[in-house]
Subunit: 202 residues, 4 copies
DNA sequence: CATGAATGAGCCTTCATTCAT
DNA sequence: TATGAATGAAGGCTCATTCAT
C-alpha cells in the first residue's frame, strides 16, 4: 500500500482535502471559507492541509487543476468516441459539459463562480488548465470550419469564448436554481441548438 | 437644492467613494481591497466611508446598483431611439453593451469579475438591478419572437442568459487583453451577428 | 498637544509600548513573550502595536536603539562633566554604567540577556547603537594611551571589548541575584579598580 | 558492552543528535531552530529525537551539560599538567579556553550566544555545569591569592565572573569576525596579560 | 460632517510532540 | 528502536469598524 504515493500528489488524504475544499468553496466561496472548515470538511487536522499544499491559495489552484484535468479528460474521451461531423461533436461537447457539471453540483458552483474572481487575483496564476479546455472548444470550431459546416468568416477564438460564456452563464443559472438533471438535458439541447445555428454556414 | 441630498444618496463625497471603490475593486478584487485603500483612492478618511455606507458589503452592493442603474438607463435611452425591428434593437443592445463597458475599463473588470463571486456570497443579496438588466434583454427577445423574427420555440429566458454569458465572457477576455476600442466595435459586430443567427427564425 | 509627534516616533503610546515590551522581555525573554502580553503590559490593544512598529522584531530592535540611545546620552553627558584624566573618566564610565543599569533592573536584564541572542538572529541587524556605545569606551582607552596613563601596547579595541564583557557579566550576576543598589557601588569600584590596573602603564 | 548504553546516555544516535543540535543552534539559535532541522542535520527521523530527549528544552540542556563537561574535563586535565604558580595556571586556563572554543566554531557560537538567553528562560534550569566551570576559575584565583600572587583584597567570586565575561565577549567578537586560529593565540596572550595585571598584587 | 488613531476579533500558518506501523 | 505522517494548540498579524475629537 505504501507504494507510489504523494509524488505528484495522490494520497488518500490529499484527495479528501481537495474534496473538502470543493464542498466548502462551493458553499461559501474561497474568501469566506476558513482553512479550518476545509480541514473539518475533509476530516483531517488543520495542519495536515499544509503537508499537501503550500497554502490556501495553492489549495485553490490545485483544486482547479485537478478538477479541470478531470473534466478535460472526460471531454476528450467522450469526443473521441463520437462518430459524426464536427457539428455533432460540438453538440456532444455541450451536452457533456452540461452533464458533467450538473452531476457535480459543487463542481459547478465552484467552477462557474470561482474561476474568474479567484483565479484572477491569486497572484500570477495564469490558469493553464482552463486554456486547455478552451483549446478543445476552439479546435472543434476550426474542424467545423474546415469541414465547411461552420462559417469560415467566424473568428474561431472569439466564438469559443462566446460559447463558453453562454454555457457557463446558463449553468450558473441552472445550478443556483437547483434544476434537476432532467431539465438539464433539455436545456442543453436548446442551447446547443441555438449556438450551432449561430455558427452554421448558410 | 442643497437639501434633498444624501437621501437617495448623492453627495459629492459619496460619489468619490464609489469611484474609488470601483477603481480599487477593478484592480484587486473585492476581498483583496482594504477599506483604507478605497478611502485613499477616494481622498477621504477611512471613517468617512461609514457615514455613507453601512459596511464594506453595503458599499459593494451600492456600487453594483449605482453602476447597473447607469448602464440600464443608458441602454434604455439608446434603445428607445432606435428605429427598426427587434433584431436591430438587439444588435444595438449588444453593440452598446460592449461600448459602455469597454469605455469604462474599470467598470468592465468590476462587473464581469465581481458580479458573480461577490454578489453570490454577500449574504442574502439577490441583485435586483442585474435582474432589471436581464429583463430588458429578455423583453427584446420576446419582442423579436412576436414580430416573427426570432424562433418562437426558443426559451426566451434561457436565451437571454446565454446571450448575457456570451457577451460577458467575450468582454472579460477583451478587457483583460487590453483591447483598444477599435477592436471592440468589430468584435461586437461579430458576436451579435453570431448570436442573432442563432436566434433567428428560419 | 497635537504638534510634532509620531514623526521619528515619540507619541505617548509608542513610549508605553516600549516600556511594556521592556518589562515583558526582561521577565520572559523575547521569544517567550507574546505580542498580546506586551500589549496588555502597555495597556493598548494588540493591533495598536502594529501602528508603531512593523512587527515583533522591529519592536525589539527599536527598543534596543531607544534604550541604548538613552544610555549613551547619559554616559556622554556625565563624562563631559568629569574633570580629570582618562583614568578618572574611565572609572566614572564604569561606575555610571553600573548605576544606570542597576537602577533600571528591567533594562539590565534586557540589555545583558537579549543583546546577544536576539540581535544576532534578528535578520540582518547590525546593532549600530551598540557600536556607538563601544566606540565611547574605545575612545576613552585611546585617550588614556595618549595621556600615557594606559599601556600603549594594548590593542585598544580588544580592551574595550574585554571591559564591556566583564562589566556585562558582572552586572548579569548582580541583576539576577537581585543585589541592592548599595552593593552595586562597591562592586563597581572593585571591578573598575581591577580593570584599570590591568590597563595601566607601569 | 552493547548493554550498558543509553543509561548515562551514549548511543551513537544520541551523539549524532547532539552534534546536529550544536550545528543547528550555532547557525540559527535555539528558538529559530526547528526540531525537524536538528533531525535532518543528525540524519535521524524527527520522532527519534524524542527517544533520547524529553523535549526540545531537554535537548538544549543536555547539550550544554555535555559540552561543558567536555570543556571542563579538558581544562582540568591540562591544568593538572601545568608546572608553575597560580599565575601560570591562570594564563594557561585563558589560553586553553580560547583554543577550545575557537577550534570548535559551532561550540563557540553556541556557548557564547545561547548560554545566557536560553538557559535563563528554559524553566527552572540552574546550569550546574556552568557553575562547575566558574568554580575552577574561582579556585585558580583563590590559589593565586594564597600564593600571594594575586591581591588579597579582591572579591574572588567577582573576579571570576569578570574574567569569564571578558573572555566570553572577546571570543564572541573573534568568533563572529571569523578570526583564524593564528589571531587567537595572540589575542589570548593580550587578554590574559591584561587580566593578570589587573589581578596581580603590587 | 469628517477624521484617523485605536480597537480586538478572527484567521492562516507553524511546529513541537505523538503514535501507528 | 526507528520512522515520519498527523495532530492541534498557539500566536503573529490584518483589517473592518468605532468613536473621541
Amino acid at each position: 500500500m505504501a507504494t507510489a504515493n504523494k509524488q505528484r500528489g495522490n494520497s488518500e488524504k490529499r484527495r479528501r482535502i481537495l474534496e473538502g475544499a470543493l464542498r466548502a468553496f462551493a458553499k461559501k466561496g474561497f474568501y469566506n471559507t476558513k482553512v479550518s472548515e476545509i480541514a473539518s470538511e475533509a476530516g483531517v487536522a488543520d495542519g495536515t492541509i499544509y503537508l499537501y499544499f503550500k497554502n490556501k491559495d495553492d489549495l485553490l489552484i490545485s483544486l482547479f487543476e485537478d478538477r479541470m484535468e478531470w473534466i478535460i479528460e472526460r471531454l476528450k474521451g467522450e469526443l473521441d468516441r463520437i462518430e459524426g461531423d464536427a457539428a455533432a461533436r460540438l453538440r456532444a461537447f455541450i451536452q457533456l459539459h452540461f452533464l458533467l457539471v450538473v452531476e457535480n453540483r459543487d463542481l459547478a458552483e465552484f467552477v462557474t463562480v470561482e474561476l474568474r474572481q479567484s483565479a484572477k487575483f491569486v497572484k500570477e496564476y495564469d490558469n493553464p488548465k482552463f486554456s486547455d479546455y478552451l483549446r478543445i472548444l476552439h479546435q472543434l470550431i476550426k474542424d467545423g470550419q474546415q469541414e465547411g459546416l461552420l462559417r469560415a468568416e467566424l473568428d474561431s477564438r472569439l466564438a469559443a469564448r462566446a460559447i463558453f460564456g453562454a454555457l457557463d452563464e446558463v449553468l450558473l443559472q441552472l445550478t443556483l436554481s437547483k434544476a434537476g438533471p432532467e431539465d438539464v438535458e433539455e436545456k442543453a439541447a436548446l442551447v446547443s441548438d441555438m449556438l450551432l445555428r449561430g455558427l452554421a454556414s448558410d
